[in-house]
């Protein structure tokens, strides 16, 4: 595992490297520390490409790592444009590579 231990801006002390949880990345089961940034858990599992740019289809991965740059946007549990560098990992999360701008979920509207 290649874990980022220290970061000049982010305070990573908010999660303890104690509880390991399972999540999936594009359907592949992976293990990470609960509460760690999703992007850090992916990095530790050797995943470097998080999304594809909408027009040029170029790969994007970790960049600013502080929630500012949009480079690490991914689809997490169906929600697009999640800033995985500042979003904590939880057990059972479904993390997917984001292609394009992300599709907002159109929930069924029941009332007629």
């Amino acid at each position: 595992m290649e874990l980022i231990a220290e970061h000049p801006v982010l305070d990573l002390s908010y999660f303890k490297r104690e509880e390991r949880v399972w999540f999936t990345f594009d359907g592949v089961a992976m293990e990470g520390f609960k509460g760690a940034p999703i992007a850090a858990a992916l990095h530790a599992n050797g995943v470097r490409v998080y999304r594809e740019t909408p027009n040029m289809k170029r790969p994007r991965g970790f960049f600013c790592a502080i929630g500012k740059c949009s480079s690490c946007f991914m689809v997490v549990d169906g929600i697009p444009n999640v800033r995985t560098c500042v979003t904590p990992l939880a057990a059972g999360m479904k993390v997917e590579t984001q292609r394009g701008k992300g599709r907002a979920l159109i929930a069924p509207i029941i009332s007629e």
Binding site: S70, I79, N81, K101, G102, R103, A104, I106, I109
Partner: protein
């Protein structure tokens, strides 16, 4: 651009109204046109607007202007030689009470008589037009498919570049500081860069138009009303294909071709101070409305928020035409709809000033209607 101290026509205000007027003047044969703009292209209300284009109005004059503007917008890419970003997803107007729905239906009767194919739609039809819409509390919906939105920046730029190619001069960072009147006639203007003599002076200065009119001793009843607006990060198309709008619900919402969602609402009690300041109260209130009408937007982030000035008149209708000062014209008072009406307003004023028969008779939009008490109250505005 080279400075000239004499021009045939000088236009005060280089927003979309001034630029479009300059373009049509040159196209109809008056090429020696100078536009002075105190900021830069789209730095005023044009670049701050909600970009909507509609023909669904409650007065005959606005209906005529609206449908004629749509006719122009539909052919504007070819005419100006570049895309203006027209997107005809329609305007879906939502009523929240029976009386409001009745008023919208009266509007439809008027519009249909003028060739505007607006109609009522059912809730399920409304959801076909806008699948993410949650309007279970609505009373009724009306829709006009040819309405929509365009890109104000591209439109202004396209008109300006086309105008420059046929002789128009555009001076940014040049503020009008006075109007010269001799013997009851406007003969030129003073600017921060010097005097310009002109045969015709046109006031297209939007929310500043009453200040500019005063330079020539003309009193206009306009005022600048601050409106706030916000935009989200881009998501895939389909969240809001039409322009959603409600007068009583107090909102308009649209999705740009790029994927961002733009939404705005009418303000509560901003001072008339010509400031473009923004407030947290707007973001809070607007977000609540957006999430209620389009629940799908809940996870979408706001990326920008700004304000601009509506150039309001007491009846919500524009002021177009000559004044008591000869050769001094107005094209102002669009009350928040200057972008959508600018193609036809510019064209018709240019037709008047080049001896051509105007497409539409604008005489009722004379500013003296306020003194006469002949207001043209526009009900279809927020």
């Amino acid at each position: 651009m080279e400075w000239k101290d004499r021009a045939d026509v000088v236009i005060i205000g280089g927003g979309i109204v001034g630029i479009a007027t300059a373009y049509y003047l040159a196209r109809f044969g008056r090429h020696d046109v100078v536009v002075v703009e105190k900021g830069t292209v789209c730095s005023g209300s044009t670049g701050r607007c909600g970009a909507g284009i509609r023909a669904q109005w409650g007065t005959e004059m606005n209906c005529r202007l609206g449908i004629a503007a749509l006719d122009i917008f539909e052919n504007l890419d070819a005419e100006l030689g570049m895309s203006v970003g027209l997107n005809q997803g329609g305007y879906l107007l939502i009523a929240y009470s029976d009386s409001e729905f009745e008023n919208l239906k009266k509007g439809i009767a008027l519009q249909n008589g003028l060739g505007i194919k607006s109609k009522t739609v059912t809730l399920s039809e409304a959801r076909e037009i806008c699948p993410a819409l949650d309007a279970s509390d609505a009373t009724g919906f009306v829709y006009h498919a040819r309405d929509g939105h365009a890109d104000p920046f591209l439109t202004a730029f396209a008109y300006l570049e086309a105008a420059k190619r046929i002789g128009v001069s555009y001076h940014k960072r040049t503020e009008c500081t006075g109007i010269t009147v001799k013997g009851g006639r406007a003969t030129g203007i003073d600017t921060s860069r010097g005097h310009i003599d002109a045969d015709v002076v046109i006031n297209c200065s939007g929310a500043c138009s009453q200040i500019v009119a005063k330079f020539a001793g003309v009193d206009l009843p306009n005022w600048g009303e601050r409106h706030e607006i916000m935009i989200t990060e881009p998501v895939e198309a389909g969240v809001c294909p039409p322009m959603l709008m409600s007068f009583s619900g107090n909102y308009y919402i649209q999705q740009r071709p790029h994927g961002s969602i733009i939404c705005g609402m009418s303000p509560a009690g901003h001072p008339q101070d010509f400031e473009n300041k923004t407030t947290w109260q707007f973001i809070t209130a607007m977000s609540r409305v957006l999430n209620r009408i389009l629940p799908v937007t809940k996870e979408i982030r706001i990326v920008r928020h700004w304000a601009g000035l509506y150039d309001m008149t007491p009846d919500g209708s524009p002021i177009i035409g000559e004044t008591d000062v000869k050769n001094f014209y107005h094209s102002t008072g669009y009350s928040g709809h200057g972008f959508m009406l600018s193609p036809i307003a510019g064209k018709v004023l240019a037709q008047q000033l080049t001896g051509n028969t105007p497409d539409i008779d604008l005489s009722v939009l004379d500013y003296r209607r306020f003194a006469r008490g002949e207001l043209i109250m526009e009900p279809h505005i927020t």
